[in-house]
Amino acid sequence: MGKRPFLGWFVTPGALCALGFAAAMAAVLQYAFRAHIPGSLEVGGFTWANFEGMLRPLYATVFLQTVWLCALTAFFSLLLGYPLAHALVHARSTAWKSVLLVVAVTPLFLGEVVRTYSWLTVLGNSGFVNGALLWLGLIDGPIQFMFTRFGVALALVHVTLPVMVIMLAAALSHIDRDYERAAHSLGAGPVRSFLTVTLPLSMPGILAGTGTAFAWTFSAFATPQIIGGGRVNMVSNLVYQLGFSSFNFPFAASLSIVGLALTAAVLGLLRIGTMRLERVGT
């Protein structure tokens, strides 16, 4: 630093941002331990009450529901993302590669609200799916997708898929193709060589992808808000309702803190899992 004083100027914006974030976090943290004064934006003295309140079934269910939806989303985006990533990495023609990449990654650029509204036109009672099924005569009345956990999960998978595909593709592209070729030369067909070689070697990518998908989904807001329509709530929807409908900032803050801690815990567990994998394998 001493010889290059100008470096200090480059660091300043970053340092300011970090300071801002830290201040915001500190504010949220201290709000979480303050008493709520109904009908007022002012907060009272120190209390544990917010965290105790969370144990009430009404709120505990939302937490469980969120964790369940995150797990479902992570699982199904893995299930869908793996073949996509595999095809993307192993595609022979560049044209086919580009098509796969576009399909896999576009959801990332659509913006959450636009993407979620487009699901309305697909899943709604007069939407594309129900319209098609009715027209084919496969169903008599529209199937309820909107405001169901299934609908929310479907839209969440769509949001998470690009991240999953990118992380899995990164992991798969780092596996030397010679391993697969060696397996083939030893008499293993495509299924056996996939199950015994490619899949285990891509395990770190699977863990990283699932962990990220889980954390990514935990903070979902617009999707459960619009598709869930208040009937399928996740932690962020609860925070929103408490903060902006009841103006109970302390409780909203404590929910956010617990949500954050939970996400961190899940990521930490996955990290340990990955480290163990690395010690045993590769």
Binding site: D176, D178, Y179, R181, A182, A183, H184, S185, L186, G187, A188, G189, R192, S193, T196, V197, P200, L201, V280, G281, T282
Partner: protein, 362 residues
């Protein structure tokens, strides 16, 4: 005549193109049981392409491939019954040595006890007993090489394929592995196709060598035949050191032709000169050890001046300048010979020299 034994490998007119590049053009090859055949050639000549076609990792555009008498052109890799050793070994990093070696047996559903016995045998064969529970990354390069070999051999393949297996090893280890591979291969009597761009390795290890260049097999023969009677200019220059001298074709008499170089007449194989007329200029090729020195003034191939001398213990290399020759000539003389830089010499062909001559390429 007794019926020829069924070849372990037969490649019939195989061609493979990548876009505009013809990686392999009309290759014909027959490997009898138990033979160690080496594909030798410079980088990019199509050695790996041919090996991958045999293994089934690539499909030919034309031609057929037979392994142990069976047509396998359309058979997938995992049903060809081959054993393959990769340049980077490709040991499965998440499996122990024992699991790696057992992989091909598991794929063949060999019963557990028999598999354990065969894995132990294979590891003993490559002198790795006691390493069963190690992971590949806990082994040295040479040990990984042996595991790869054990893994390929334990399935008792009909054909063993190796693509530059020693290129990652240091020189001493490489020499030891060459001897060891050859010993194992001979004791098992397994037909082997070995790829290398190292001509020393090819000459020292092989029963026969197929020299390749630009997608074509130029010559197939024993190391001695390749060295002493190269079929064309490329083989002569690629395999071993060689001197090129200007000469003139005198006459063709049946199998041999007579060429004149300086004051000397030498007989050479006639086949490469079939299209040349008497009196035309040809290139004469002589190995460094096939040229003798004599006092200046002796009628011979040419006169030369020693420019540099490199001592190698049992022999010394003399780099000589000769009038009218663009390239320096290389002579291999006994280590005790006295000629040093600046010495004038007359050069004569060794009476037993296997000289070859080729038309000047146009």
């Amino acid at each position: 005549m007794a019926a020829e034994p069924r070849p372990a490998l037969q490649v019939d007119g195989v061609t493979r193109r990548f876009g505009a590049v013809t990686a392999l053009a009309d290759a014909w090859l027959k490997v009898p049981p138990g033979e160690f055949l080496t594909l030798l050639g410079p980088s990019g000549c199509g050695k790996s392409t041919l090996l991958n076609l045999i293994a089934g990792f690539l499909e030919p555009d034309q031609g057929e491939i037979f392994i142990d008498g069976a047509l396998v052109t359309e058979v997938p890799v995992w049903q060809r019954g081959i054993g393959m050793v990769f340049q980077n070994y490709a040991l499965f990093p998440h499996m122990t040595v024992a699991k790696n070696v057992a992989y091909g047996l598991a794929a063949r559903r060999v019963p557990r006890e028999e598999a354990a016995r065969r894995v132990a045998e294979a590891l003993a064969l490559v002198k790795l007993t006691g390493m069963e529970e190690r992971k590949p990354r806990q082994l040295s390069g040479g040990q990984q090489q042996r595991v790869a070999l054990a893994r390929a051999l334990v399935i008792r393949p009909k054909l063993l394929l190796l693509d530059e297996p020693f290129s990652a090893l240091d020189r001493n280890l490489r020499g030891a592995m060459q001897v060891e591979l050859r010993e194992i291969q001979r004791s098992l009597g397994i037909a082997t196709v070995f790829v290398t761009h190292d001509q020393g390795e090819a000459l020292s290890m092989s029963d026969r060598v197929a020299v390749m260049s630009e997608g074509r097999i130029r010559q197939v023969g024993t190391p001695e035949a390749i060295y002493r009677r190269p079929a064309d200019r490329f083989v002569a220059e690629f395999v071993g050191d060689v001197n090129r001298l200007p000469a003139r074709l005198v006459a063709v008499e049946g199998e041999t032709a007579l060429v004149e170089c300086g004051a000397c007449r030498l007989s050479v194989p006639a086949a490469p000169l079939a299209a040349a007329a008497a009196g035309t200029a040809v290139d004469l090729f002589l190995r460094p050890e096939q040229i003798r020195t004599a006092p200046p003034g002796t009628p011979g191939l040419t006169e030369a001046v020693v420019a540099a001398r490199a001592f190698h213990g049992d022999h010394a290399d003399l780099h000589c300048d000769a009038p009218g020759m663009a390239q320096r000539l290389l002579l291999r003389v006994p280590g005790h010979a006295a000629e040093g830089p600046g010495a004038r010499l007359a050069l004569l062909p060794d009476p037993s020299a296997d000289a070859v001559a080729f038309p000047i390429s146009g």
